[in-house]
Symmetry: C2
Subunit: 226 residues, 2 copies
Amino acid sequence: MGSASNGRKIPEPTLARLHRYQVVLRKLCRAHETTVSSERLGDEAGTDAALVRKDFSYFGCVGQRGVGYEVEGLLAALQGTLGPSEPRPLVIIGAGPLGTALAGYAGFEMLGYELVGIFDSNPARVGHHLRGIRVRHTNELPAAVVGTGVQLAILAVPAARAQEAADQCGQAGLRGLLSFAPVHVKAPPGVKVRQMDVSGELEILNYQLKCGMTAGPLPFGTNSTG
Amino acid sequence: MGSASNGRKIPEPTLARLHRYQVVLRKLCRAHETTVSSERLGDEAGTDAALVRKDFSYFGCVGQRGVGYEVEGLLAALQGTLGPSEPRPLVIIGAGPLGTALAGYAGFEMLGYELVGIFDSNPARVGHHLRGIRVRHTNELPAAVVGTGVQLAILAVPAARAQEAADQCGQAGLRGLLSFAPVHVKAPPGVKVRQMDVSGELEILNYQLKCGMTAGPLPFGTNSTG
DNA sequence: CTTTGTGAAATTTTTCACAGCG
DNA sequence: CGCTGTGAAAAATTTCACAAAG
């Protein structure tokens, strides 16, 4: 058991699941459940019991053998790994429909984020208020970064502006970008970019529907040399 | 070349990239470029030349050695693999801010999708028009599925309603769901579900910022027994 | 000479299986 | 017993390296 909690390299797929466990655990917490087994957790989070345990092994084990995991303890451990207890500032770039919808998303607070700014390069949008926050011009971003220490931004701008906006974010000192633009954005130096590709996901879904997921045994057979 | 174009099992990561190549190719097409190398394509799509070639090998090779890929031919091949040439119907479930923003997303048409319906279980929202489409009550969904042959839906409902809505979609006869809810949705029988987890992505970004991508050695030291 | 197509190696991630603790 | 923690096996994916084609 020695290797747990070394806290070194958590695989990305694990990170993606860690957040889902958190969501499930919060629900269990509200339902006043005290313990949960890896099987139940896997079931509710859409993964597998073994994978749940493996995932937890990356950041320290909090389970009791024969019983399961203590819901609160596990939640605390997860929050310690994923996010700090203090709210993390966050800005949204782009005050179009998507930026507006995201600004209205109440879930950020629950997750420990605090929306501290909304920026748009279109002067016509500057000055409007979304969720009590005044939309500022993009050229005010650097000052806001310095002022709030914000590191993360959601990029909700049209494809044509995405790279430009990402570069501005990088220059302003932001460190992480979550882009909704349906184009690949090259990461500015020192910036980590993740893409949220709606249309790409639709295409995958569509393809998988087209072939391969008709209920029943998979009709694989065409096994050429490969 | 023998094994290519069997068209059977394309890995999911490849599918995700295929769409990005499509985006780049369309751009090149507009710029009247006739050929493109795997290196260039990889660069613009955010992957690697070797991976580009490997990806294409799954669905047939269209490249000319020494030259590259014919932009139009490749685009046609991709569109043939990913989506059909006729528009695919699509519905949005949930007419809240996110559903509204998505309804306004002009990119769907470009990708060959046609938004044929918006549904909401809240009677207060029924009757409004988004992008020229009347919001209908969720209980009209089954009829719409039969009428349009739609298979895909985007789920833009609150977490608390997500599972319920997914089940309704399944019963209505939909086959693929793209969910924006920040909870895991169990796939109803015969339905393929993909999740678009905004907060999860933010958490990953935040974690990767916290540790691992500061240039230089990681400042971990706490190496407990576990 | 350039660039593709592709086996084979390397790497990453998941699944398995079971020892060990409560 | 039941359930966790974890090495080892398996599977999936990416990277490498190079032969073959234009």
